[in-house]
Symmetry: D2
Subunit: 141 residues, 4 copies
């Protein structure tokens, strides 16, 4: 995609991301932003696991929810902020290594923005695995 | 409810909870367990917030997903473990103070267990607020 | 519940229901309305089935979506109408006999209304069975 | 896609579709099947509408649920049948004209199959509109 994001919007997303303390707690990085898209990644660090040693569902949820939210924010006016109304997550396989959440806007709108996200697990010398799919609704505030 | 949980199952839940490092990261406590129910609580600590200072959606998701999962586990054979297949969360109001997630089984089953959870925000001298509702599916493994 | 619905709102719901041709196609009846609640029922007639002879998931969805929508409408101003934003349905057991959908408002709101519904199957001389649970979002228009 | 479906599986899908009386009630046609995909279409006929004259959400749900179910069935052994466990639908715009539901498998599995579907509205001389997105879970039986 050759489209690029307005620098003012991109800066707003960076600032917002930096103020989400949950993102730091998850060790999350804002990898890429575009018009209607956002990528956030995090290692499955030792403090983010469930009882079997894989990533807790809340890690995939956290980075995918934020990636989908910033994808929505990228299409809103500069003064807008965004909140999650609802999110559905299907967990496809256990998460380990590094999780990469790719958020995107399915349908923008003035009153509601419909979003989706995929989460992939990346590990050295292995093809990436599909860990989760999400579908949800964001609201401008 | 006067029903109580089999002590062996209750002990298994406590042990499993203690091995979920994400629960420690969230500052979560296992408050109560019963047959088909589980309550988990966590403060909206400074490291668990979104860009406006409220609880990140992933905090409500994390404790509610685990509460629903343990509610399902409480009705399974002693040797079973449980994984989340899918969860839908609706966010009702901003979370602050202390979040309490009440998980319950809607329909037990050998192949799948359908679960639900409510998340409430508790603050001193205020009625508790309904922060989130969840509906999902757990699978024995 | 001793609360009753404003007669003007109740009449609006009856009129709206009568104009939903899908409700007639499903043989659905508006059984009861209250402030924040609505009950709609339909027989699992021969033209509403899936490949095994049970009710198609779309029948439970149809009456539960409408029941939840009217539950939301009952709490809105007289001039408002309502549309479904999103619905999640978990199917709990095969539907046969007569399906009864009980819709209710979880959280009213000016911009969005969060709703839920349960669908039960009733057959002579048997306890009713829980067929489906739904959770969703309605928007005033 | 040059892959084609095993003729035995394709015939099983046709037979199953013909026994779903709800599909006839919806005026639905099985348009195309492939390995992990299925397309079903239906006119927004006068008997399938909501109170504003657009397609009832249950029409999009019905054809998308079946399209997703047959997409799952296409990847199962010849003797298998499939049931919907849960489906989440987001409604994107009002449905009119002819609805086309494209179902696909996101992740196949022996115990569960994760599926998705998109529903489009087609009208003469207009670009097709995105009416709904769905994400759900099917189980072999």
């Amino acid at each position: 995609m050759t489209e690029t994001l307005d620098p003012q919007i991109a800066a707003k997303m960076q600032t917002s991301f930096a103020t989400q303390s949950m993102m730091q707690t998850m060790g999350a990085e804002l990898i890429a932003t575009g018009p209607g898209t956002c990528v956030i990644a995090a290692e499955v660090a030792p403090h983010l696991r469930q009882q079997q040693g894989y990533s807790h569902a809340a890690l995939a949820f956290a980075i995918a929810d934020s990636a989908a939210g910033y994808a929505a924010l990228s299409l809103m006016p500069p003064e807008a902020d965004v909140l999650s109304v609802e999110i559905k997550i299907n967990l496809l396989s256990p998460g380990s290594g590094r999780l990469v959440a790719e958020g995107r806007v399915i349908k923008p709108g003035r009153r509601l923005v419909i979003v989706a996200a995929d989460v992939w697990a990346e590990e050295p010398d292995r093809p990436r695995r599909h860990v989760a799919v999400l579908q949800g609704t964001m609201i401008p505030v």
